[in-house]
Amino acid sequence: MIRVSVQREAFDIAAEIGALEASGVGALATFTGIVRGGDGVTAIELEHYPGMTEASLSDICEAAQERWALTGCTIIHRVGRLDVGAPIVLVVTAAPHRAAALEACAFLIDRLKTDAPFWKREYRGDTALWVEQKASDVERGQDWDG
């Protein structure tokens, strides 16, 4: 069971976990990314490529299901303007065993960072700056290929 969503609205973590829990599994892992403050950042804004983004999130989920015995995986990513402290991305994986759930969860968020067409702009008051891709994210993404 794969579910992906790109949305402006907040997500309901408990509902998303509950949906996969109902599939009768032994292990559920989640990752939630939250807009980080610091360095004067007051908000961010996320742009995406409608259509390609959803397809790429589905592809990442399918790749995870090929590598691990999962009963489900969910990726929800928000777009638009988000204040510091707001949840931005949710990954949920369900599997009979914990190693599969935990590893797939890490894989999904790492791959999302390198493969899914989202672009982040940081606001410091009225000043907006595009965020540069981190070399460490690219390396983590490639680690799964080794």
Binding site: Y49, H77, L112, V131, Q133
Partner: protein, 83 residues
């Protein structure tokens, strides 16, 4: 062909896309960029640093050696920064 731009590229060009007819010599994504930079100073500026550009043909990520023939949508954008 329909070109679409995102994020910093969209802002540098001042539009989110345009329709172009590539000359016959344009075969690869790289060729397309060589031609696009001749269109205007804005294009030249937006596509100056190719290490900061990524490409998708019909919504699939491709490298600069991919052939553009047959694609109907060609996207140019910076490295992605979601999550």
């Amino acid at each position: 062909m329909k070109l679409v731009y995102f994020a910093r590229v969209r802002e540098a060009l001042g539009c989110d896309g345009e329709d172009v007819d590539f000359p016959a010599a344009v075969q690869s994504v790289g060729d397309a960029l060589d031609w696009l930079v001749t269109l205007s100073p804005r294009h030249a500026d937006a596509f100056a640093d190719r290490s900061k550009l990524r490409f998708a043909l019909d919504q699939r990520m491709v490298k600069s050696d991919a052939l553009v023939a047959g694609a109907s949508e060609f996207a140019i954008f910076p490295p992605v920064t979601g999550g």
